[in-house]
């Protein structure tokens, strides 16, 4: 056993006996991921928007029935749940009770107005706290209205363009054909991969990488503790190279990081149903992530005067990078400045790498993000190595 691994295994035993590393490395991220998933899962749009619409049909004609058919089709496609109410008052109390988000009010005279081309207003009444659902209800009614207008226009223009006035029979067949005809466009699905994490995986991964930067500190700041307790000078006097000492602490930090992440990946998969993706890809990301944490906190340890100072500065950096990196909630919108700024943190790349692995992607999908994290590890690692060696030779 080399000097560095002997130092690392001695420290590892100490860290396991003192339970703080276990609390920070495993208990804290696991508990918080569970609570966040519980509370945010029900509140954020990580789950489908559950649309509940009401219908008040005061017209009771075939025309108003055709509107209901449109809604029934949506219900058939699983887009929304539709409930009929006898009156506007009953639908409004359903909104107040939270049973529906909005309702359509078809007042008497709809059938006649649409047959004769007279003006008619479909009313949509929505819950003030569900603007998106209300907007969708409005769009459904508008699309129905556009369909009516298309038929009316098609018939009107046909009549106007006919050389001879159309026979009543023509009109009937035209209106049937016009009602049948396509609206001129259709939506086609676009094939896409999933590059986003579901709730249980997002919170598990976010908390795991957030606390990783605290767990690794237990190893990295070891040099400073040896220095304060006077054991460092004794170690330096021993016939072991200086780099073994730094390497020993780095190995300890690496072991703590890997153990914590491995336990978290397995525990959240089993307990919360997190789906981390292809194991090899996850392993590469985790290794890169642990290395970048060691490198960044290594620089902190090299510049700090005392272990407490290193702990405090390390926590400040860990919290700042974690918040900006989107480990608590996704940061930035579309491709704004904040989402670009987020990418200066290894945390954001770690989350992106896992996102790229989502949806059964092969392990290679994690390589670009792992590469970016490795750049952090190399840059900060070299600086930390240089500074720590200089510190030891003082």
């Amino acid at each position: 056993m080399s000097a560095s691994t002997r130092i690392a295994s001695k420290d590892l035993k100490l860290r396991v006996r003192d339970r703080s590393a276990i609390i920070i490395g495993i208990v804290a991220p696991l508990t918080l991921a569970f609570i966040f998933n519980l509370t945010f899962g029900s509140a954020l749009d990580t789950t489908s928007l559950d649309l509940h619409f009401g219908l008040v049909d005061q017209d009771q004609t075939t025309t108003s029935a055709s509107f209901k058919t449109v809604l029934d089709d949506l219900e058939g496609q699983g887009m929304a749940t539709i409930v009929s109410y006898p009156s506007a008052a009953s639908a409004e109390s359903a909104i107040a009770a939270g049973d529906i988000d909005a309702y359509f009010l078809l007042q008497p005279g709809m059938g006649q107005a649409i047959q004769t081309g007279a003006p008619y207003v479909i009313k949509v009444v929505g819950d003030i706290d569900h603007p998106t659902s209300t907007q969708i209800a409005t769009s459904i009614a508008e699309q129905y209205g556009q369909g009516v207008i298309t038929v009316q226009t098609a018939l009107g223009v046909s009549v106007e363009m006919s050389q001879t006035p159309p026979s009543p029979l023509d009109l009937v067949s035209w209106s049937q054909a016009a009602a049948q005809q396509a609206r001129g466009f259709q939506f086609v699905p676009v094939a896409a991969a999933t590059r986003q994490l579901d709730g249980p995986t997002f919170f598990a991964a976010g908390m795991a990488v957030f606390f990783l930067f605290f767990t690794v500190q237990f190893g990295v700041s070891g040099v400073l503790e040896e220095e304060r307790e006077g054991t460092l000078t004794r170690l330096l006097a021993a016939p072991i190279p200086r780099r073994s000492l730094i390497l020993g602490k780095a190995i300890l930090a690496f072991a703590l990081g890997i153990i914590s992440m491995t336990v978290l990946v397995i525990a959240t998969s089993l307990l919360m149903g997190s789906d981390w993706g292809a194991p090899l890809g996850v392993a590469i990301l985790v290794i890169a992530g642990v290395l970048s944490a060691i490198a960044i906190l290594g620089v902190v340890a090299a510049v700090a005067k005392t272990p407490e100072g290193a702990g405090n500065l390390g926590s400040i950096i860990a919290v700042t990078l974690g918040m900006l990196g989107g480990t608590f909630f996704p940061v930035g919108r579309a491709d704004d400045l904040l989402s670009k700024l987020s990418l200066i943190t290894p945390h954001a790349w770690f989350m992106r790498g896992l996102g790229d692995l989502a949806g059964d992607a092969p392990w290679t999908a994690a390589l670009p993000a792992s590469g970016a994290i490795t750049v952090f590890a190399l840059v900060f690692g070299s600086v930390a190595w240089m500074l720590l060696r200089r510190r030891m030779s003082r």
Binding site: D18, S20, I23, V27, T31, L32, I35, F36, T39, F40, S42, A43, D45, S48, L51, M79, A96, A113, G117, P119, Y120, I122, K123, G126, D127, I128, T134, I136, T138, I140, E142, Q143, G145, Q146, I149, Q152, T153, A154, G156, V157, S158, S162, A178, R183, G184, F185, Q186, F187, V188, P189, V190, A192, R195, Q196, S315, I316, V319, V331, L338, G355
Partner: protein
Amino acid sequence: MKVAVIAMTNVRRMLRERSNIFFVFVLPLAIILLIGAQFGGSFEPAVGYHSADDDVIARSIITALGSTDGLDLVSYSSSDDLLKAVERGQVQAGIFLPAGIGASARAGETVDIGFLARPDGFGAQLQSTVGAAVSEVMTPVAAAHFAATQTGGDFDQALALATDYVRSLNTVRVETSAVGEALFPSTLGRFDLGAAQQLVLFVFLTALTGSSALILTRQLGISRRMLSTPTAVGTIVVGEGTGRWATAMVQGLYIAVATLILFRVNWGDPLAAFLVLVAFSAVGAGTGILMGSLFSNDQQAAGVGIVLSLGLAALGGSMVPAELFSPMLQRVAHLTPHAWALDAFAELVRRGGTVADILPELGVLALYAAALFVVASFRLRRVITRV
């Protein structure tokens, strides 16, 4: 007098700790700023689009989409970027307008518009909204094509007629109105909601991290030395409790005043807001003392403190408003003091309440504080007098 000295020493120790400049003074404001930037203001879903060519119909569709309420339209210069943005959840849905829409429409072909929504958001339902905007543009085109086919006439003539016809037509319109009392009224400032949530989170967090100070006081033998002076155990216990409460108050007052000045956050009735802070700080202090007397290792206490303060904050609605929770979870949320404090702030800020309106919330917080202090002082008395 001795109580005040012990308490003030606690506050001074917190202020002298240099990292607290960040955790107590910088971080709360940074998070309020970040959350305000991220979630404050509009909650409109972002929808991306890419148009493969600069066709007149494509342009009309984009204009129609842009004038649709409730959509935050984002343009992407390549379909690949748009695809990735939807896949990564940066936008809720993507609209892919193909090349040659105009030519296809003239030929009477059905135009295929690519639509991609995230499977887990409400992007799929946004298809109706996008469809309504596209219909607006495509209605005359479809009608003209129908008329030209049925009568054997010229398409361009039919299109001109159809465009006029649609304009003159005054048939089916849709009117939207909203009912109910808004949970988050439009007068609520961009930072108002987040400021109250973060105040509650950080007051509790600071009170709990204070437990390590209490552990150090015991470890270093300060409490034993205090006992050797003519100071009663009760005085030390009350002094430590007041100290924890005072540090929590410093944190809370700082956030309230700084957000008031920097972000013009509305805290409602000042006296009532102050009383909520007093009561909630007492709950935090009670919990901090209890933890400080239960643990003997300050690093362990710090770890458990973070879990407790972030976990209770999330459950109590300090991260996502509890109003958005399921009814079951809302009941669970009200087991935490956070939910009661946030209810009180909501009453003050959103409904202009006064002290009289928040008496129930203040009562619950006072009960929490009293119960925690009784248990904590009993426990602390035991640990500092133990030989």
